[in-house]
Symmetry: C2
Subunit: 540 residues, 2 copies
């Protein structure tokens, strides 16, 4: 029953499978870089509790006969399903805070299973938390739902992980909501097709989770969110199913798909959908450019974004972020540009993008010409290696009392520079006030649009020396609050692609138009009249 | 007070300004083509009623003092605002059927004016019909709202027609909802920027109308609907304003903009919005290809759509449609491909698109190489001329008893051929059953997506010989019903970009997920608790 793939066991204390993580050398290097570069030192050398040491509350609810075969109250299952991959969740696990652990984990295999879970949970007044890959970094699957429920059941969708149909003519596939990235790509591969939606969480997130949270993939322009790749959706709600038509485009009233996307399990579970696919790219090129001024790099992104070239990758990373990740010395910002195509050589596209970069002072880091390995070379390659490894860092940092987190947003180009300073300064000030030390606050662009970038901020800060994890959690919360206040005050979005979850809800309520909040509340009453679905998420 | 621009008076019996239309020769040529090509003959030589001959019902409501300055019950204003540009509206005007004429026309200048109209109309139980350019071809502004209201007021938005702000850095502008296409482009031009959203109705439709109806522009790929060009919206509803943030991209819950887009005035009036702009294109190329087989042309569209080239134009027109419009002899289908850019030469893009077309049997109609006038030459040029003139045809045909209409949809590539035959056959059978004659039923693609085309059907049919317009209206309704039934039965959308209006509502209710219909109904109760806004549209 355990949440395994290919006989691997999911880690309960951090990212990925139990057997995966940083090597001892990599962990040492990470700590050294943060220490030497920014004076951020470990305040302790703690460890996550072992499974043996974890005692969970007795489950408050027990699966009825008709659901017993797909439900478990196994301790490992309950622990893994009680948290996502956020900084506060990591601290809670470190602290052994399992007071709000889910009571049951269900692994439905069919929509009928889900409907039966809803019926039973509704009668029991148990909260239902949909669970895809469990990689939410915003408390989307965190099981502390308050005291209004008689229990919490996590609905793990990963048994519904099939690609049900492939339409090679239209290049589309019907994919079940519980299919994780590698699983769905493996099923598409024999057809010569690919979804090519690669969020950083790709390995541990699901198609349904992507749609429910409006996830951002590796396409830095054009198809930035899964939204753009969705042709139709099927959502199972407590009062019935919402099934939209397969339509390449439509102007018939407001889009039902666009309404369900981003509801984060609060209105139903997205059990399947038709997704638009790509041919497997045969032409690729990657180039890297260094800029001494981050804002020059930003100008290059703007020029390329507005040129109508639609690169697959178009990212910049500031000097601090390169330094934190051992990919630079802090003296330059890096821009990475990639084009890919299953149809045609991309040289003309890349040549024009390069002109834009050189025009505003970029210096070639790695040359793309006749260089299929460019993505592995120079600062570009070093950054790529660090990026892939990044999700494993936190399990090293939390036990050592080092707070690390990221948040992402978007803003328009006209105000970008002042926005950047406001957010960065607010973050640095919050870290100083809370910890008494400077933090390492950095920025990259995860996605870019003709009208503005999606800046992605990261910070590392030294948690309270010698303190326990409770104080660390409070410190994180204060820093998070002040960063989020700054995002909202400066006109940004509380999230560009990480989703709202429980952690962003307060600011989401400030951001969304109040009357639209009422509409969502009415929809919640309509689709989830007993209010059991992912309480506290999207609809407060 | 009349709805004029630059001292021109709007025609009440058809498209455009009173002074515009087909020349006598052009009208004769149109009738000859239909007669000689398809045996469709005029059954009468009637005329629309003159303004002198029109008697309207006495207005049932009178503007209160606070609104009297912005309201009128002038006959011309009332007639123009009681109908859109649909075939049934044209017949109703021909028939002199002004029983349901609007009682009042209001020309608000501010959001406060609109709020005052809502308050007053709510108290009077008067229906409020938002009116942009009045070019709805689906009954979106048609004033027959049933017998539950004490009056009808048309809210003409064209006094709110300013571009309020231009942000040249982000390439975006804040545009009032009542700005017609030419007005808003004229205001953007000094900034070197353009929205480049050119629906066929461009001259007589407004930015707010486009957003409310999810209009389709001239971009045949990528930015097909106005949806894609909208950064934020402001909607004035009877219970307050819904204002979204300017965000290039966001994943914070379901998009409030995407929910308001397509509500067609049933939930509020979109008074302004920020729109994403383009640089004015300096590089352009147009090519034309002839195909003996329409489905080969469709295959070429699919190849180009899936190649990631994103042409500005990518349309095919079948032999019948070319023949009806005097741009071909019926023996070939035409494909038009255009690329445009403000940034870079488009030769590489066009060369690859051309390869796709030639690969599936296309023959060059006009060559794009070193040919800036290609769009004016060959069948491409002939079609272009006919296309621009097309909206003026109906005022020639209705008085002569010739039924002419269009409808558009979308479907996926895998089923396109069978879909095409099913729709075309259903239309032809309906025309035969209803009129006893064959019609001219044709198809083009208005827009194209990687996963499917947006087929646009047109038909001409001989109305009842010697009959009056009442029978012609019934004939049209029966044909329309059977075409619409076929669209829904075959998995299409009832509209790709013409909107739902009153004419499509019955089929829209079949198409949209039932629970989503409930959500829209709840939103209507929330935002328009007295149910006065555009009754019968979107929310039944």
């Amino acid at each position: 029953m355990a949440n395994d793939t290919a006989n691997k066991t999911l880690k309960y204390w951090g990212w990925g499978y139990a057997e995966d993580g940083l090597s001892a050398d990599q962990a040492k290097s990470l700590l050294n870089t943060i220490s030497e570069g920014f004076g951020i030192e470990p305040s302790r050398d703690g460890a996550f509790p072992t499974m043996d040491a974890i005692t969970l509350p007795t489950p408050r609810i027990e699966a009825p006969a008709n659901l017993s075969k797909i439900c478990t109250s196994d301790t490992h299952d309950r622990v893994v399903h009680s948290f996502g991959q956020s900084q506060p969740d990591s601290i809670r696990i470190y602290n052994g805070d399992f007071e709000h652990a889910v009571d049951l984990v269900a692994y439905p295999k069919t929509s009928a299973d889900i409907a039966a879970i809803y019926d039973w949970a509704g009668n029991k007044n148990a909260a239902v938390i949909p669970f895809g890959g469990g990689s939410s970094v915003v408390g989307g699957v965190t099981s502390d739902v308050g005291c209004n429920f008689n229990g919490v059941i996590s609905v793990d969708m990963t048994r519904m992980n099939k690609v049900l149909e492939v339409d090679p003519i239209s290049r589309a596939a019907r994919i079940q909501g519980g299919a994780r990235g590698p699983e769905l790509e493996a099923q598409l591969k024999p057809h010569g097709l690919t979804l090519r939606h690669f969020p950083q969480s790709f390995e541990h997130s699901t198609f349904g989770g992507w749609v429910a949270t409006r996830s951002g993939g590796h396409f830095a322009t054009l198809y930035t969110h899964i939204d753009d790749l969705v042709e139709s959706t099927t959502t199972v709600t407590p009062v019935g199913n919402i099934v939209s038509r397969r339509l390449p485009g439509s102007g018939a009233g407001p889009s039902p798909d666009r309404f369900m996307m981003g509801t984060e399990g609060a209105l139903g579970i997205i059990t399947e959908g038709w997704a638009r696919l790509q041919g497997r790219p045969t032409y690729k090129a990657t180039a890297g450019f260094r800029f001494t001024d981050f804002f020059d790099a930003a100008r290059a992104v703007r020029m390329v974004s507005q040129a109508g070239l639609f690169p697959a990758n178009l990212r910049i990373v500031d000097g601090t972020e390169l330094k934190v990740n051992g990919a630079g010395d802090g003296s330059f910002a890096l821009m990475v540009v990639s084009f890919e195509s299953a149809d045609h050589p991309v040289d003309t596209w890349m040549a024009r993008a390069e002109e834009c970069c050189l025009d505003v002072g970029g210096v070639i880091d790695v040359d793309w010409r006749n260089n299929p390995e460019a993505n592995l070379q120079g600062a570009v390659g070093a950054w790529r290696t660090a990026f892939i490894r990044m999700p494993y860092n936190r399990e090293q940092l939390t036990p050592r009392g080092i707070i690390s987190d990221t948040f992402e947003t978007s803003t328009t180009w006209d105000v970008f520079e002042s926005f950047y300073h406001a957010i960065k300064d607010a973050t640095q000030a919050a870290i100083r006030d809370v910890t008494g030390h400077d933090g390492a606050v950095s920025c990259r662009f995860s996605h870019a649009y003709p009208d503005g970038p999606a800046p992605y901020f990261a910070f590392h800060a030294p948690g309270n020396p010698g303190g326990d994890g409770t104080v660390m959690l409070e410190q994180w919360q204060e820093i998070k609050t002040r960063c989020s206040d700054a995002l909202i005050a400066n006109g940004g979005t509380i999230t560009h692609h990480h989703a709202v979850g429980r952690d962003h809800h307060k600011w989401y309520e400030q951001q969304r138009p109040a009357l639209f909040g009422n509409i969502l509340g009415d929809a919640k009453k309509r689709l989830d009249p007993k209010g059991i679905l992912n309480p506290g998420v999207i609809v407060g």
